[in-house]
């Protein structure tokens, strides 16, 4: 299934016609110099940079369209409402969701998961019921379930991962029990780069009548997402990792489930009527959007989706796959480098350790070379524990990265070894 917004661009010919330099020109920040050197931005898993189209859309909104939405009869309010609701349809098409009623705007992936835990979880899960996650989850797909567990007596179970950093699918299936009521799984691991077999996971869960939440924080900017093809019940992602603004994200939920779920936050816009005795709730998706939302963020997210769809996520994926394979081979040549996580299906992310040198020191020396990577536990401490490290260095690639930047990273790693005399 091809999204109506994404041009079909799967042939090798079109891939080779891809020009990262033209793409780079659309990102003002990529012209920055850091410590006297050109910025090499390889921290895309933390947040992506923003193309001019997104920056301009947010500026244009504040300069000429700003008003509150949904309740004004005046011109600007109608303009803002239309801009906001148009993006909802755009997001639905981007995810191939059946209806824009299934698209709820939230602050980001974290808020989306918390929303599901606190509404679906508290309404339909009870003591002894199980939520199944995997051993490679980000803290944002662990802690909300622990909070739910403390409130309701729900039990959190964890499906194992293997030494490559892949989900043990047989172990996952064994972890599905009579009491499993929800599966929550990361699509693309932020710490290891692993792409999980989400379709298979959804099939296994569906066969047992268990809904599945997919954490798409990392995947949405690297893989084409089709929630119908994946077969998931909830899909969550953040705008800022998809070239959009911070503070805006999306929860997709299957309509039948969203209908049954109680509201999350109470306030304006989420009600049908209010008296001091009682209130009734608005329909979908307003029921989950109390208060004035991040309208400018939604507008920016719409511009980001337009931008990435015009480039084509298949083209993005092909370019990044090429870059990741190249980087993986080049980095492995640096003496003392050990890759943490070597999954067969992977995207964007390379986590590694350098013998005898702490990742923070690696990051510090690279910064002096203008190379921005992440060093730390990546909000995935259980993953670090699984691989017996406290932290890793992580390079994460986006559509605008180049082989020259991989070369700068590798030069930087040699410099690190030189500084530390190893």
């Amino acid at each position: 299934m091809t999204s109506s917004l994404a041009p079909s661009t799967t042939t090798p010919l079109q891939v080779s016609a891809f020009d990262p330099e033209r793409i780079r020109g659309e990102f003002p920040i990529l012209a920055t110099r850091v410590n006297g050197r050109p910025l090499v931005y390889l921290d895309n898993a933390a947040t992506t940079q923003k193309p001019r189209a997104v920056i301009d859309a947010v500026t244009r909104y504040y300069a000429s369209e700003n008003a509150n939405i949904h309740r004004g009869v005046h011109y600007l309010s109608q303009l803002a409402t239309e801009a906001y609701e148009t993006v909802r349809q755009k997001v639905a098409a981007f995810l191939n969701a059946p209806s824009s009623r299934e698209i709820v705007f939230v602050r980001g992936t974290t808020e989306g998961i918390n929303l599901v835990a606190q509404t679906y979880g508290r309404a339909f899960l009870g003591a002894g019921d199980e939520v199944l996650i995997t051993g490679m989850e980000h803290h944002s797909n662990i802690v909300p379930w622990q909070l739910l567990a403390a409130q309701t007596g729900v039990v959190l179970r964890v499906a194992p991962i293997d030494d490559r950093g892949e989900l043990d699918l047989a172990g996952f299936e064994r972890s599905l029990s009579e009491r499993t009521r929800l599966v929550a799984v990361v699509h693309l691991s932020n710490a290891l780069g692993t792409i999980n077999p989400v379709r298979r996971i959804c099939e296994m869960a569906r066969a047992r009548g268990i809904p599945v939440l997919v954490d798409g924080a990392q995947s949405a900017s690297h893989l084409r997402i089709d929630v119908r093809e994946l077969g998931c019940d909830f899909f969550v992602f953040s705008g800022h990792k998809l070239f959009g603004p911070t503070g805006i994200g999306v929860l997709y939920g299957r309509e039948a489930l969203l209908e049954r779920m109680p509201p999350w936050q109470g306030g304006g816009d989420m009600i049908s009527s209010v008296t001091f005795a009682e209130s009734t709730w608005a329909g979908l998706p307003a029921k989950f959007e109390a208060g004035t939302p991040h309208i400018a963020g939604v507008v920016g997210l719409g511009a980001a989706i337009d931008w990435v769809s015009a480039v084509g996520l298949d083209v993005v994926a092909a370019h990044e796959r090429d870059l990741l394979e190249h980087a993986s081979a080049e980095i492995s040549e640096v003496p003392g480098v050990r890759l943490v996580g070597t999954p067969r299906e992977r995207a964007s992310i390379l986590s590694f350790a350098l013998d005898g040198i702490h990742p923070h020191d690696v990051g510090q020396v690279l910064d002096a070379e203008g190379v921005a990577i992440r060093a730390g536990h990546h909000c995935a401490q259980p993953v670090m524990a699984r691989f017996g490290v406290a932290a890793t260095a992580r390079a994460s690639f986006a559509v605008y990265n180049t082989r020259d930047e991989v070369a700068a990273l590798v030069r930087g790693l040699h410099r690190v070894r030189q500084v530390f005399g190893v």
């Binding site: 702490h358 923070h360 020191d361 401490q381 406290a390 500084v419 530390f420």
Partner: protein, 151 residues
């Protein structure tokens, strides 16, 4: 831009490679753990007291070059000192790494070898690395045992 060599001075790199007093101390009077939750750095400081004086001190843990070298140099600096001398030294050290002390002042001279960490003031995110072991030492002196966090 601050040169890297101001941060990673030779003394620091050398203590990172061969940390002093780097071992558990099973017969310690006091110990405390220090954690930097943002980066996962963790170390434990053990000490023996002779009255008000620290007669022996050691540490163990995992962390970056700055936290390891700082802990190593700290153990060498505080051995034989009284609590109030250590408090004063930590205050001086803190002033220097946070940039609240001008060069060539009395406090810098008091620091001796610890002054190699003055370059950290240009790298504010690394201040927590340099002070982690000091916070753990302080906790051990004050509480006897427990854990401290940089957050």
């Amino acid at each position: 831009m601050m040169e890297l060599s101001a941060l990673y001075q030779d003394v620091i790199l050398e203590h990172n490679r061969s940390p002093r007093n780097f071992h558990r101390m099973d017969d310690a009077d006091r110990h405390a753990e220090g954690r930097n939750p943002l980066c996962g750095d963790q170390l434990t400081v053990w000490l023996k007291l002779n009255g008000d004086r620290v007669s022996d001190v050691s540490f163990e843990g995992s962390g970056c070059a700055i936290s390891k070298a700082s802990a190593s140099l700290m153990t060498a600096a505080v051995k034989g000192k009284t609590r109030s001398e250590i408090d004063r030294l930590f205050q001086r050290f803190h002033d220097v790494v946070t940039g609240n002390s001008s060069p060539e002042t009395e406090s810098r001279r008091e620091l001796g070898k610890l002054a190699v960490f003055s370059g950290i003031s240009a790298f504010p995110v690394r201040v927590k690395c340099a002070t982690l072991s000091w916070h753990a030492l302080k906790a051990a002196l004050e509480q006897g045992a427990g854990a401290v966090s940089t957050e």
